[in-house]
């Protein structure tokens, strides 16, 4: 019971709840060069991620909009914080390490820039919620790979 409660506290850490309540970079990005939607088939929630990539392949700006559970919104919010100002290939690498870490529980070394994302580790005890935590990251992957319109899922 205590173990259980701890798991829940671990999932809904203060940082997560904070990002869920006040998501960063929320809204539509006017001059987006890339975008993609992510649908979570489990709950039907949909979010859309916008990227503005500059001539040097650097993510100049980013935002997201949509609805979702605390986990998916917090994850999207953390994502925007993390990738802003990063080169595109770095963002793609982040996608790889985060999805691996959450999906396969790989404790792979995290880029210093990703330290904050350890806050998502709690989902690993909740297999049915991993998709919530990775949704925005899959949208990022789709957007960067120009798989525009058709709603992507995992």
């Amino acid at each position: 019971m205590n173990q259980q409660s701890d798991d829940l506290r671990e999932l809904y850490r203060e940082l997560i709840l904070d990002h869920a309540r006040s998501p960063r970079h929320f809204g539509r990005l006017e001059h987006a060069t890339h975008q993609a939607a992510g649908i979570n088939p489990l709950c039907g929630d949909k979010l859309r991620l916008y990227l503005q990539v500059d001539a040097d392949n650097r993510i100049e700006d980013t935002s997201f909009e949509g609805t979702g559970c605390a986990i998916s919104v917090a994850s999207a919010s953390l994502l925007t914080d993390t990738i802003i100002g990063q080169p595109v290939d770095k963002a793609e690498a982040y996608f790889e390490s985060i999805t691996k870490r959450l999906t396969h529980g790989e404790p792979a070394e995290l880029d210093q820039n990703l330290e904050k994302l350890r806050a998502l580790d709690g989902v690993r005890e909740f297999p049915s919620r991993v998709k919530c935590a990775t949704l925005a990251w899959h949208a990022l992957h789709s957007a960067l790979n120009q798989q525009e319109e058709p709603a992507t899922t995992e």
Binding site: Q3, C43, D45, K46, A70, V73
Partner: protein, 413 residues
């Protein structure tokens, strides 16, 4: 509460013991299963009937002259007879066995509608429907050029009857509507609506997936043309369903799928279809599943659907009352006539998060759109948390639900 307890009586506790799955703990807590609207659990008698069938009697049905095949056929066709009696169809030829409500509705869309509708015709559904009673009609409308028309609902999640009446025009080929909404629990006044549709000669399909498990059903009394339901929602196995249909309609419909058992004679020049209901049952059926549904009917009849309905109503009302007492509770679906289901939102906690937190206290509810996205759209929300009771639930289950919701509020405080 004491009053509710008295009304409920001891019987629900007895029934609960018949369901072995309920006697387990989840996340360290005794399981509280409030997700029967998605799929109901099975009494031991159903589980045993299926296992016994495979241990003693299995063979393919209908065409075998040997003992096992004869026993399997008798058991399978005996289950059809039980189902006929359970919904009071006038003849066993009107009981088509399918893989579920979904297939039953697709069958009607493809075999009844598709050959006969075209541009100018309308298919009328309601805003309350499950995707199973929407998408098959969208497909057939796309295929034929017919138009899908949707009757509106009000803020309580009730059909707007006047609007529905106004939509029952001559160009409506079929009215397809649910008996009970799986998302909101609304019980529709289907009998009255069917009577009005019949006056205008409009055939009616009732999606009874959420009706059959919770109340006595009499298709002759309802006077509907089609009534579709699933075995797994009425305490039987998955992969089973029923389409009740008037014999005269079935007679006039082309087959849905082709294969063994639905034919009398096959040659490359042409094929003679089998008599009803077999014309609509191609291939080896879900023999053990159907036998399981027969055992579920036996179980329900041993209790009596009137008693089931009465007992569930007490539970449902107690649940609605208990939920209402929580601060920050928003009930979605507040129709005057409801059964089994209550959808809700709590504070601004996303239903998915609620689901996880409740599960961690052993309480199983469903969250999300419940395969009824248009209902969610109607209420301007993306989903709800939904608790649904069945005959094996008790008042304690409801108390546990409330307690678990308060814990969620603490976490998100």
């Amino acid at each position: 509460m004491t009053q509710a307890q008295a009304q409920l009586g001891a019987s629900a506790e007895d029934w609960r013991k018949d369901f072995p799955i309920l006697d387990q703990s989840v996340s360290g807590h005794a399981l509280v299963y409030l997700d029967s609207a998605a799929s109901a659990q099975q009494p031991q008698s159903v589980i045993d009937a299926v296992a016994r069938y495979h241990q003693e009697d299995h063979a393919n049905v209908h065409r075998g002259v040997h003992t096992l095949s004869h026993r399997a056929t008798e058991a399978y066709e005996g289950a059809r007879d039980k189902i006929r009696g359970f919904i009071n169809a006038s003849s066993r030829t009107e009981i088509v066995l399918t893989s579920g409500t979904t297939e039953s509705i697709n069958l009607v869309a493809q075999s009844f509608c598709r050959p006969r509708v075209g541009p100018g015709d309308k298919v009328l559904i309601t805003h309350l429907e499950h995707h199973a009673n929407i998408v098959p009609w969208q497909l057939v409308c796309e295929q034929t050029g017919a138009e899908l028309v949707v009757a509106p609902i009000d803020d309580d999640g009730q059909l707007e009857l006047e609007a529905l009446r106004a939509l029952l025009t001559d160009d409506v080929f079929i009215l397809a509507m649910g008996h009970v909404s799986n998302a909101l629990g609304t019980v529709n006044p289907v009998k009255e609506i069917i009577a009005e549709a019949r006056q205008r000669d409009i055939p009616v399909l009732i999606d009874g997936a959420q009706g059959v498990p919770h109340m006595p059903i009499d298709v002759q009394d309802l006077d509907c043309d089609f009534y579709a339901f699933s075995g797994h929602k009425m305490f039987g196995p998955t992969g089973t369903g029923v389409l009740y249909a008037r014999e005269s309609l079935l007679d006039a419909m082309p087959p849905y799928q082709g294969g063994g058992d639905m034919i009398l004679e096959v040659s490359f020049d042409g094929t003679i279809y089998n008599e009803l209901p077999y014309k609509f049952e191609a291939g080896t059926p879900n023999i053990s599943g159907v036998i399981g549904v027969g055992a579920a009917v036996d179980y329900l009849q041993s209790i009596g659907m009137e008693r089931v309905a009465a007992s569930e109503q007490v539970l449902h009302d107690y649940m609605v009352e208990s939920l209402s007492e929580i601060d920050g509770m928003r009930l979605i679906g507040t129709a005057g006539n409801k059964t089994s289901v209550q959808s809700f939102l709590l504070d601004d906690i996303h239903s998915h998060d609620l689901g996880t937190i409740l599960d961690h206290q052993g309480v199983a509810i469903r969250t999300g759109h419940h395969c009824a996205m248009p209902v969610m759209t109607r209420f301007g929300i993306s989903g709800t948390a939904r608790a649904s009771v069945a005959l094996y639930n008790n008042l304690d289950d409801v108390d546990r639900l409330v307690e678990a919701l308060r814990k969620a509020q603490q976490i998100f405080a």
